[in-house]
Subunit: 336 residues, 2 copies
């Protein structure tokens, strides 16, 4: 059998297969820490009374530069956001570049400038790096793999949602997905939309003192993916009010035109949180004061799962409730 | 200007250029820690009285399976060894795979089995991971980027060599480089030689209590590279006795036949150390008791640099002394 990228059955089978192979790894966690089986945004290592939070992400994006961002900003923000979703303070990143021979040096220079400005914005340092130049045709221009270390004394998990919690989304969904699609050959539509790619650590720093029970950043698979993960792991239902979910008119238009579901589109600068109902308004206020959270909303809540039923995510529309399922396979290949 | 992989001037120019771009990164260290400017094997993050040691490495190797190892073992051992060279206990790794569509699932399964067995041998856990499947032609089969976290209360640097220190090498040099070369098209020679790829953390655990002043693993660029780095950063000369340096007859033969310098060939399971003269014999004994250090030797020492001279590495041969220079550009592309 061959590994495949394709949508539908083939792609899902490949994902399942890689999941099976990952099970071959016997050492899956550090004692007392979060590991592979937790399928959270990061792993953790208990140390000297605190927790070291650790994650990695490989970035391949086509095109390398897109409206609102580029592979450099994406690489830094992606890893900073994963560290942040665990309630930790992101402190240091590593950068591993695989560069295809023949890449214009000027492109690499622009990517480094973007990495630098995003690191400065997020207040994180690059403290380890590696560069490999490979033969022409061996990679598609440039692959950046970042790993990161965050520190915290209290880890926020994605499985801590409690019935009654309010669901908060920090702004418009799907902008990254649509901005990228608009750049692809074969998707012939015009948009002024920009990717939301941004590091969220500074915006979220004050909220970790409040009762945030779960947090995730809805990248690949969109809010459909992360809400289902949160519901399933926490053993709750999540119900959303469709009319409250912030959607840019151009995302709405593109989704209607192309038959896409905005709930499954990627974001690179959004957070989905479950917050104790008494703290929800305060969290909302903190987000709305920050440029990246101006359009933050409370758009749903967590409910007890009915006896003998499985946790699910529902959305209340004008025509009744519908179930929001996690997307199968790749929705839009290689956008984050 | 385009990025190039080629030997000589082009390759050196590309390396210089990437170095220049790296300088664009302003946040280069965590306060009080080791960062990019130190050009050591890892960065460090001070935390709660201890040090978190952090590193990354991208692995592309052709072929994926070679005599004595494969890309999976190489990825784990490479990162474990970098963490180990800082005197830290390697505890956790992350794994980021970029897989080319069309790769046979069976190959991936074998790689995961190898990752698992090497992790078990080294006693480290994989606690974070990421997998991207990319279009055919976008990468050459498989790229594995590992990052790692180690913990220590005392960091061993590569700049701590003192005049009088004994130089220890843990065994035969160049085996990895020659084993890989023998598999390449265009290098038509037969050998039974295997790569030395191995995690060295268990062997080295007991030596960190002794006065080890500097340690490095001589991968790309071989012992010529690491000894020059150690000499230059520490401000000492290093003089080696050529006849003491362990060399497998097949490496010697291949080097003579192909005009290669074994000092510049890659290793993946060796350590070069500078040790206080009173502790050198004890360190040697510890290494020799371990399967990976059976052929360990004391093969040189560090000396004071003459006034107004630069630090250098010399080797005493039957015909006098010669200077050992660090290799320029890529010696043998893509072997680690």
């Amino acid at each position: 059998m061959k590994i495949t990228l394709s949508h539908g059955a083939g792609g899902a089978q490949t994902q399942k297969l890689i999941g099976e192979f990952l099970k071959l790894i016997k050492n899956r966690q550090v004692e007392g820490g979060i590991g592979l089986d937790d399928l959270d945004d990061c792993g953790t290592i208990p140390y000297q009374g605190g927790q070291i939070v650790f994650t990695t992400d490989g970035h391949t994006v086509d095109p390398l530069f897109f409206p609102g961002g580029d592979i450099g900003r994406l690489s830094v923000a992606g890893t900073v956001n994963d560290l942040t979703m665990m309630g930790s303070k992101a402190v240091a990143l590593s950068l591993a570049l695989v560069i295809e021979e023949g890449l214009e040096a000027e492109i690499l220079e622009r990517v480094f400038q973007s990495i630098n400005s995003t690191c400065q914005e997020a207040g994180v340092a690059i403290i380890a790096g590696d560069t490999k130049v490979v033969e022409r045709g061996a990679v598609d221009k440039l692959i950046i793999t970042t790993a990161g270390v965050g520190l915290t004394e209290r880890v926020v998990r994605d499985n801590g949602v409690q019935p009654g919690d309010k669901i908060i989304i920090s702004g418009d969904i799907g902008n990254h997905g649509v901005a990228l699609l608009s750049q692809r050959e074969g998707y012939d539509f015009q948009t002024t939309l920009e990717s939301d790619v941004a590091p969220l650590n500074k915006m979220l720093e004050p909220v970790w003192q409040l009762r945030v029970h779960a947090a995730k950043d809805p990248t690949r698979g969109g809010i459909a993916m992360v809400l289902n993960e949160m519901a399933e792991k926490s053993g709750v239902n999540i119900i959303l009010a469709e009319e409250k979910i912030p959607l840019h008119p151009e995302v709405k238009g593109a989704c209607e035109m192309l038959g896409l579901d905005p709930f499954t589109l990627a974001n690179e600068g959004k957070v989905v949180m479950a917050v104790h109902p008494e703290d929800a308004e305060e969290v909302l206020k903190i987000l709305q004061q920050h440029p990246y959270g101006k359009k933050a909303v409370i758009c749903g809540e967590a409910l007890v799962v009915e006896e003998k039923k499985s946790p699910k995510v529902l959305v209340q529309t004008d025509f009744g409730k519908r179930v929001v399922r996690p997307p199968l396979g790749e929705i839009v290949p290689r956008i984050c």
